[in-house]
Amino acid sequence: MDFYLGLLQVIGVHTLLGLSAYCVLLTGQVSLAQAGFFAIGAYVAGIFTVLAHWPLVPALGASAVVTGAVACAVGFPALRVKGLMLVVATIAFGEAVRLFFFNFTYQVQTGTLHLGPHGAEGFRQIRYFPEHGWSTFDVMLFIWTVVAVVMAALWWLDSSRAGAVLRAVGEDELAAQSSGISVTAVKVSAMTIGGVIAGIGGGIFAHYTTHIEHTQFGVGLAAFAIAYPILGGLSNVFGTLLAVIFIQGFLIEGLRFMGDWRNLLFGGLIVLAMNIRPRGLLDAGAVQALKRLLFSNRERSGA
């Protein structure tokens, strides 16, 4: 049981990572910087709970604020860079953040222990959860509450005018600008929101792994972040969730019985998925089909 709860925790945090990339992707920007925001969120939350002895939620709040500020700052220069150059620029930003933490040492001595981030060795003993008696179930519940709130917020955003504006900028920037939409404001806001979500996700990540170091936040994690929304489809937030369940639940844990073949299948299945469903697992067509299936049944049973 513990194993499934742990898996749900991982799926939850990765959904947050995926949603942060999803936000930015809606406006047509392919951002591989989400791993960088994730890292900042992780370190900030860790520093607040371990060194300043804050409770978890304020620490996550601090993560959200700091990461949001950084994302906003990144959003402006990102405007100047279009398309695939943005991919490279965000990879470079992510690497720069990782290198920063590679060098970042801030140790505080309490008794005989040295606590805090220690450069290449990372930041160890972020034991807020076990020290405060949170069981695996408690942590899972907490994570999914956050995920539910974020997904609800994004869903509401999507169904409001703001969502239409975001997608308009994503589909055709020129047309959107001609309609009077401030493309700058939209893109920077999307980047900021994405940053905030990644920061919160990173903060939780730091706590359930109890040890973070720079190597975890490299290009690999950034690729995963972007993989979830692309694989899942950009029509709605559930696509990202589905993709996270597919990758973390099925490809990584479910295929374990295949032993060595699992890793080969990992890359292979992603390629296959993109060939078969280039718009994602849950693209607009699939959503329509699902709706028809669900609602037509209800109509029939109602009549």
Binding site: R80, L84, L264
Partner: protein, 296 residues
Amino acid sequence: MNLLDLIDAVQSVADGILFGSTYALLGIGFTLIFGVMHKINLSYAAASIGAAYASLLILTVIKAPAILVFLTAAAAGGIIGYLVYLVGFKFIPLANPLATLMSTIGLLLLIDEIIVHMTAGVPLNYPALFSDVTIHVGPFSLRGDLMFVFALGCICMVVLLLVLYRTRLGLATRAVSQQPTASKLCGISTTRVNVLTFVITGVVGGIAGAMTGAAIGMLSPLLALPLTVKGLIVTVIGGLGSIPGAIIAGLVVGGLENAFQFFRGVSERDLYIMLLLFAFLVFRPGGIFAMPAGRD
């Protein structure tokens, strides 16, 4: 800073520039694919390393001289290039750039895992040409094998530019990159051009992988991801779609990398490369040689 330090600094930069020719070759591949198909192939560096690994297979059959191994790498690169096109690009509609981005990421993971499975992740020795030759110019010494790689890179550039500007295939490639619809109307088969682009860049990639292996002396799966990042940086600095840009940017990045290393040490070195990229993106987003903008 005394004279010895100055000599060391210049030597470092010189070494870096020579090593940068491997980055230049990778940059050429990335930039060609982007130039023709307006897509990024993130699996390119991994495929190049894969081609170099594949070329080692020939050593298990016969005791081949280094040059034969390099040629095998080039051939393997071409084959892998075609396979990448088939699996990652052919069936995905052009209107989905995200899907091809993702499929190339999937291919990167796949190629990496194949290499790891076949070699258990252990670094393998790679033959080099002129590895024991060192040319001395005053107090400076230049590595023979790197000069060979540099020369090879220049030859590649010349050959590619000749192909692009003096042959019908090159004309077709340039046409497709500038105006895909119009070229179809003129009877140019876009599919054929795309396939050939991938094969040619695959061959260049195979040579790049072999040269990287020769320059380091070893091959390791560790190389795939950092070379992808460096290759992309070089491509952007050089200008997406510009071959001379990729070469110059490769050499510049190589040299500066060593210069930063010399002056500021290894912890900050890569940070400065990123800052260099950002500077370019802010002040000269088109790169050193911005590609002439076609119509939408």
